[in-house]
């Protein structure tokens, strides 16, 4: 196998791509490539990872122009003519090299009222939510988000309208709206309405296309639009 030609972003918002040559291996991932560069070629390269098995959501980068989880992205699936261009995830401020500042991304989860608002106390019995109930199925479809930011990075509306809460935060809100144990639905619907919330979504479906764990935030956002509209027409917002 001939070596891989890799261009890696160096610097912050202002910076440039640096070229490296990396040996190829079978089943090599993009994260393996970045790790090789950092350990063998340039120890000053900054990047993030933790679990390496697609659970922690910390290794998102832009690979050949497309946001991806790099630990589960095989080089032979994404390299074009044996070349890789690796950049930090889009729509987030770059701290250094491949590391983006995720604060705004997670602050938006809080702004979308992404925390569970329970109605029971520890003295109450466990809530029993039937696995085959319609609402539970909707929750199950969206609940496995790993918070990697790939959807946020893929979203054009975030790029155009920086106040937009983004697909991950809205997906989180949707799983809580459909959680029958949660008691903060109206406050949450109020938080996700409007031109920084679900109504800003153009249904481009880039988030759904790129989500590494195959969640469809687009479906959740469409659901939020319906629930918000119902609440508004009943005068409850």
């Amino acid at each position: 196998m001939s070596p891989l030609a890799v261009e890696v972003w160096r610097g912050g918002a202002q910076g440039a791509f640096q070229s490296f040559e990396v040996p190829r291996h079978p089943s090599q991932t993009v994260l393996d490539v970045v790790t090789y560069i950092q350990r063998s070629l340039d120890a000053t390269l900054a990047y993030r990872f933790a679990c390496r098995v697609g659970m922690c959501g910390s290794c998102a980068m832009t690979v050949n122009g497309i946001p991806r989880w790099t630990c589960r992205t095989h080089v032979d699936k994404v390299a074009r003519e044996n070349k890789l261009v690796i950049a930090p995830p889009r729509n987030l401020p770059v701290i250094r090299d491949l590391v983006a500042d995720m604060r705004e991304f997670f602050d938006k989860w809080a702004r979308a009222k992404g925390s569970f608002g329970g109605t029971q106390t520890r003295r109450d019995d466990f809530a029993r939510v039937p696995p085959d109930s319609a609402d539970r199925k909707q929750v199950d479809a969206g609940i496995e988000c790993i918070g990697c930011g790939v959807c946020y990075s893929a979203c054009d509306v975030v790029a155009w309208n920086p106040d937009y809460l983004g697909p991950a935060a809205l997906n989180r809100a949707w799983t809580l709206v459909k959680d029958e144990r949660d008691g903060a639905t109206i406050e949450r619907l109020r938080a996700v309405a409007g031109d920084a919330g679900c109504h800003a979504c153009h249904t481009h479906m880039s988030c759904t296309e790129r989500c590494p764990v195959r969640i469809s935030p687009t479906a959740g956002i469409a659901g939020l639009k319906r629930e918000v509209a119902k609440a508004a027409l009943r005068g409850k917002l």
Partner: protein
Amino acid sequence: MNAQRETLLWVAQRASAAVLAACVLVHLATIIYAVRGGLSAAEILGRTHGNAAWLTFYSIFVLGVAVHAPIGLRSVFIEWLGWRGVSRDVALLLFSFLLLVMGMRAVLVLFA
């Protein structure tokens, strides 16, 4: 931001889109049907003058446009120009009024 108002604007845009979809289809089909053997201005006026059904249909069409276009422009202004707030909404209200006046003027001239 007023969630209730924002949401009702969104509902109004969706509802007006549904109205416009029907209106555009009827409008285009009627044009194609009406001009099969050629059509003069006098013939058009002959059909529209005093025609209450025609007046009702095109009044709804104009109203749909005056509701739909300004709400859509709100998002365009945010995304392209970063323009929000009262100044944008006042400008769009004026634009809506302009569409309504120009549209209804044309409709009434053909009806009366």
